[in-house]
């Protein structure tokens, strides 16, 4: 088991992944120093997928189920966000087309 603190781990992974430390940090700190270093190296090189795989593989029952629930909640939020963005895009399209039509009609003198 490594002797790193959460703050030290957070500093090593950078701001972009600090939320990962909040979520998985307690578990990560129980890993071997080598495994933690591999995790940090993955993130530093932009390979967050491999880092995430390490984190998930190390999850026990409760953490695994909590992660599955978190992923479902995230996708539900994505669906909602997507629907809102889509509605806004359609509204903007209609407004723009309406404005264009007005200008075109004015340009041809109607």
């Amino acid at each position: 088991m490594a002797t790193m603190t959460l703050d030290e781990l957070k500093a090593k992974v950078g701001e972009e992944y600090s939320s990962w430390v909040e979520t998985y940090g307690a578990n990560i700190l129980t890993w071997t120093a080598d495994r933690i270093q591999t995790f940090i190296t993955y993130l530093a090189s932009g390979d967050w997928q491999s880092a995430y795989r390490l984190a998930v593989e190390a999850m026990a029952d409760d953490d695994a189920l909590a992660e599955a629930k978190k992923l479902t909640a995230q996708s539900a939020a994505d669906v909602k966000k997507n629907a809102e963005a889509e509605a806004l895009r359609k509204k903007a399209q209609l407004a723009a087309l309406s404005a264009i039509l007005t200008i075109v009609l004015a340009a041809i003198g109607l």
């Binding site: 994505d78 629907a83 340009a107």
Partner: protein
Amino acid sequence: MNTNATKMLCVLMLLAMSLFLPAGCNVMVKSDMATKIDTWAVNASVVKAKIDSLAEAEVKTELAINATYLTVYSDAATNNLFTYFFGDAQVYLKSDYYRHVVQRSIAATSFAAKAEAGTIGAATAKGILAEELLWFSDMKKMKDGDE
């Protein structure tokens, strides 16, 4: 109509056309992935109805199937960006949607392996399976524009 008016009309027409270029992940899930998501959702609803009665081996099988589906979907989400998101590939690769799809795929593969190896309990495996089925349902909502 004078030349300036014609130029203005051309610019406005280009602007109008640009409004209809693919935007957002809705385009992706309404593409060729739609059929697959439909199939998954149908299968998911069937399985969800009997999830409590599934034997341990069946749960393992379903988790493995889901992991395969999710990997296909995740790969497609990555590859499709070249078709639909080439203009904003970097933005897409950093988007929450993309990241969450890939995370779901990685987690599903890992959880299926854990279930197969018996390193997670039967109740946990069923709980994870239920969450994955909910995910399929969410993807179907996104595809259908129900939400």
